[in-house]
Symmetry: C2
Subunit: 408 residues, 2 copies
């Protein structure tokens, strides 16, 4: 596997465009993106588990489960099309239909995504004219992909895209992706949208398997503030244009592809954590020596989700009591007297807890390690063979500022 420049347009046969249609007030902010494959692609998706689901999420779930094919994706930022009732669902459908009409394809082949303010209707006139303008702007080049990646952001600071190549059954295959996450516009939520394209020829069943398995260890393991959006959407589109013999078995080629997808999604969740609301640093938590994979995941997630741990990271304070406590409140059984904790960054490595209690480490040394922008906390439970990783960011004054919409 090799990392190459580009994003969603890197694989063969994918065009994209992105522009400011007028949904967002700030004219400098793009707010609509279009992604089109030359031929219908196999598609798999993973969606929010929130009881309240946005209209486009309901539309895409139907598309993924009923047809399993997709040729275009239309996305808007600025308005989430959530809590908008029947009308909202019709609006999502109209976005797909308008796009399908201009591309001369079936409406059921068009996926839809929205992110932004909850509880207000989409400005459909603006949406339609936005789609009209997106079509002639479609391009196969890197810049076209970048414009789409920019248009799906809300208050994310950085654009998030990536592309890799690998060889499958003797053919070069490319995978590209764009995502957004951790941004926020009042009054709404930090939604994760992630779209991955590939020219790989792969059966729908295997594509679905790759994504479902991957989400568990990537998107499900990142936490900015513990709130689950109504619009979270991860989709992967495989149009088969690499011309490889179709992947239908879990062979070595399949494993290489799954590994590349894992690389892309892991890279995205790290970007999401780093770009978390108000975040000044990203921290990774590695759980080792646990009794099962699932238990290890829950412990890792409990640590990155703890407000107290997140505040301690901001304070560059090796506050290990909070780490142990966060694990304890996960409800997962472990032996507190066997836990070792190590903190590490480019500035060094330090064991701060051994057998569940302090190593009487040097606090200054600990602070020096935690002062870096990328930190790793390793908790070895010493009771098993399983490991898991999660990612989070520190909690800062800016998190409060962004989310309090202070207007007193």
């Amino acid at each position: 596997m090799k990392i190459i420049p580009g994003g969603v347009t890197a694989p063969k046969g994918f065009r994209a465009s992105g522009l400011h249609a007028g949904i967002r007030k700030n004219k400098m902010k793009k707010d609509m993106a279009l992604l089109v494959s030359d031929v219908p692609a196999n598609v798999a998706g993973a969606f929010t588990l929130n009881t309240v689901q946005a209209a486009p999420v309901l539309w895409d779930k139907k598309l993924v489960t009923e047809g399993g094919k997709c040729q275009a994706l239309i996305v808007n930022s600025g308005v989430a099309n959530t809590c908008t009732g029947e009308n909202g669902y019709h609006d999502a459908e109209a976005m797909a239909a308008h796009t399908a009409g201009l591309l001369n394809i079936d409406t059921s082949l068009v996926a839809v995504a929205s992110t932004g303010v909850i509880g207000i209707r989409l400005p459909m006139k603006t949406i339609f004219s936005g789609i009209d303008s997106l079509i002639p702007e479609l391009g196969y080049d890197i810049d076209a992909g970048s414009r789409a990646a920019e248009a799906i952001l809300t208050t994310d600071i950085y654009k998030k895209e990536i592309a890799v190549t690998l060889e499958v059954k003797g053919k070069p295959v490319t995978i590209g992706g764009m995502c957004k996450g951790s941004g926020m516009i009042n009054p709404n939520l930090g939604t994760i949208l992630s779209f991955i394209t590939t020219d790989l020829n792969i059966s729908s069943a295997l594509l679905d398997k790759v994504l479902k398995k991957d989400v568990i260890d990537t998107y499900n393991m990142v936490s900015v503030d513990g709130d689950m959006s109504t619009n979270d959407t991860v989709m992967i589109f495989a149009n088969g244009m690499a011309g490889n013999e179709e992947l239908t078995e879990e062979d070595d080629d399949f494993k290489a592809f799954a590994e590349a997808v894992r690389y892309i999604n892991t890279s995205f969740v790290k970007k999401i954590a780093s770009d978390g609301e108000g975040a000044t640093k990203m921290f990774q938590v590695d759980i080792a020596g646990m009794t099962s994979k699932d238990a290890a995941r829950k412990l890792a997630k409990a640590i990155v989700s703890s407000n107290l741990v997140k505040c301690a990271m901001y304070g560059e304070d090796a506050n290990w009591g909070r780490i142990v406590c966060a694990m304890g409140q996960s409800g997962i059984p472990f032996n507190p007297y066997k836990v070792d904790i190590i903190i590490t960054s480019v500035a060094g490595q330090l064991k701060i807890v051994e057998d569940g209690t302090t190593t009487d480490y040097d606090e200054k040394e600990a602070t020096r390690i935690l002062a870096e922008k990328q930190i790793k906390l390793i908790a070895d439970m010493n009771i098993g063979e399983y490991a898991a990783t999660a990612w989070g960011c520190d909690m800062t004054y800016d998190y409060i500022k962004i989310n309090a919409d202070y207007r007193k």
Copy 2:
């Protein structure tokens, strides 16, 4: 039931004392409390469910389940005696033994509680001399109870105590209590400690029933930051000195007592939420029209636990999308299109959501209501008959300040 002045010493036969023993550096801060009943009291307790449990919690759980009797309680603040291994347990036992020796009672009748820094040993010499000084200071008066209530605080701003009287089987019965919560000393956690005394004569079984049932709707329904302490302890002591005929049935007298305990615990959790770290306001969430009591509780708890809702409360922003989203991510099924949301305070009342979408309310009016120090959010799910209440506080810059221990 009548509210009267006082706290844990209000019921007959309870003495208390509180003083600065030297565990905490600040000499103005009391750090040890002693509570003694003239005769052994029936005792019931509810403790943290964290996998990591403090040594005194382990000690008290044994006392409550094995003997069910208690005559004294020794508490220290400043050091939590958590993550301290076998030595920590021996230290807790030694605190009980030293107290028992001076009071000339059995060690197994002495409960122990600690709150403060995790991961360091108790300064036992200071603890022993503290106990020596607490004994001659014991008093039956209101001020003695207040000194104890002060000594169990960590960084709580306000002392929390209460007392009520009611008539049971023709005899006047008194209930008193003290608690602490939401304070924080680096590096540790916001622990809830709550101790209730009564001179009621009641069987152990019924006392346990009152407490266990009550905790579900009071202490379990408050959230400051979603982190569960390793030291949380709620205990109730009933010494029978009111001289009433023993309560052994769930009759009207029992119900009146249970109601009084509910009043005390509800009042305590409101105080804890109001005194939450960095909090500027307390908000109550009432869920109505839900399909079961448990589902209603989970929805209420999800709202008060959401960082995004807490930030919106600080911003005095009627950000109802966050409220709906927080309920949705609880995993509890409901119909989003039937939800009504009302905000209320002394400044007025406003329906902001009807049938799951905005009522196009006046934002200024909403902000005026949310500007108050005590707010209520009512979510009517309109799909059942059950209700539940939870309490939380806003999330502010000061929360970050307190918890980041900013030392860059």
